[in-house]
């Protein structure tokens, strides 16, 4: 009983390390990128909230946009992309789902499939 409790704690600790890693891994996007987002302190909500809840925000916005026709831009996917897309040396936008870019960087790390971009644009227009 005692042993299993210890194992459980160890597992929880390991899980925490794994969960915390992308946060430290994605520091790179701010340091290496040149998107508009690198110049501002925080996103539409504090960073820790964005890391955990961005999917909820986008999903909520998508529902009110499609079903109620509300086209405000505060939590829109278009807003994410316009702010987080980096440019390459020639000044052309790099798709946010390209390897190592803002969206793909974390999503491939945690193996969470990114479905947005089978329909939505990956670069600002």
């Amino acid at each position: 009983m005692l042993k299993s409790c210890f194992t459980g704690k160890l597992f929880a600790l390991l899980l925490l390390v794994v969960l915390a890693s992308p946060a430290s891994a994605d520091k790179n996007w701010r340091e290496n990128g040149n998107s508009r987002a690198t110049e501002v302190e925080a996103c539409v909500a504090p960073t820790d909230q964005m890391r955990r809840n961005h999917m909820e925000m986008i999903m909520h916005q998508r529902d009110i946009t499609v079903h109620e026709g509300i086209r405000k831009t505060d939590n829109s996917l278009k807003g994410c992309i316009s702010c987080h897309a980096n440019k390459d040396d020639s000044g052309k936008y790099i798709p946010v789902n390209a390897e190592g870019q803002f969206c793909a960087g974390c999503h491939s790390y945690v193996a969470a499939q990114l479905d947005c971009f089978s329909c939505h644009a990956t670069v600002p227009r």
């Binding site: 109620e68 086209r71 939505h120 644009a121």
Partner: protein, 257 residues
């Protein structure tokens, strides 16, 4: 679903005092809100507006495809071509098409007429009835749409639609249009250029193209507003619903057929 219901409740509660205040500003004066807005919409659409269309088949010119071309361009349907090695006939039948021209021939008199056919935006849409996920739905302002986020691509709605208005997207879309996001595996159909309406415009791409060609066969507007161009035209000219026997009350009416 619960979240949606709560949201509607909240909206209702927050708007209620405002509505009450507006009604009591001047006794005896009723304030109307119009469907058209100048900027991107920030409040939910309501059933005060019902978007609809009147098509005058007599003005629809032979061999003209302006409305079809304009729709394809507006919604990015022209961005993908026939896949390599595909059968041309199959492609012709299956390619994405939100609006098409149809020729009708009266077999007793031989009279031919031509009309554009698209989603008829029924009041009681059969596509919505059969959809297993709720992806096919009718918006409060009468626009029948597909929520691609929850469409599983079963194509039941395509079978149910008596107007053959829907197509299925079989191929990946390489260039994604910003205004009308679309991708492989979903059913799609005319949405009355909903991105335009939500951003304050009051015309559709097909209507603009038809007017530009000088035909003016398509009149679009709010069916609930007696002062709108479409309501006035419907009052003045005889028109009919296609397959009126199904009692679907479509938002698209035709005259001259």
């Amino acid at each position: 679903m619960t979240e949606k219901t709560n949201l509607a409740r909240r909206n209702f509660l927050t708007k209620m005092p405002a509505a009450a205040a507006a009604a009591t500003v001047v006794p005896g004066v009723v304030l109307h809100s119009t469907g058209a807005q100048a900027a991107a919409r920030d409040t939910a659409v309501s059933d005060k507006v019902r978007w609809g269309m009147l098509v005058d088949s007599n003005k629809c010119a032979d061999a003209c495809t302006a409305c079809v071309d304009a729709c394809n361009k507006e919604n990015g349907l022209d961005m993908h071509k026939m896949p390599e090695g595909a059968d041309a006939d199959t492609w012709d039948q299956q390619k994405p098409q939100w609006i098409r021209t149809v020729k009708l021939r009266d077999i007793t008199t031989g009279r031919e007429s031509k009309l554009p056919m698209m989603c008829q935006h029924c009041e009681k849409p059969p596509c919505e009835d059969v959809c297993p996920t709720g992806a096919s739905f009718r918006r409060a302002d009468g626009i029948v749409m597909v929520d691609r986020h929850i469409c599983i691509g079963c194509r039941y709605c395509m079978m149910a639609c008596p107007y053959k208005a829907r197509t299925f997207l079989h191929e990946n879309v390489d260039i994604k249009p910003e205004l009308a996001p679309r991708g492989k595996g979903c059913v799609e159909s005319c949405n009355f250029c909903v991105h335009r309406l939500d951003n304050g415009e009051t015309t559709t791409a097909c209507q603009d193209a038809c007017a530009k060609e000088g035909h003016h066969a398509i009149i679009f507007g709010d069916l609930n507003d007696p002062e709108s161009q479409v309501s006035k035209a419907l009052k003045k000219y005889p028109s009919q619903q296609i397959r009126a026997d199904l009692k679907l009350n479509p938002g698209v009416r035709y005259s001259g057929i």
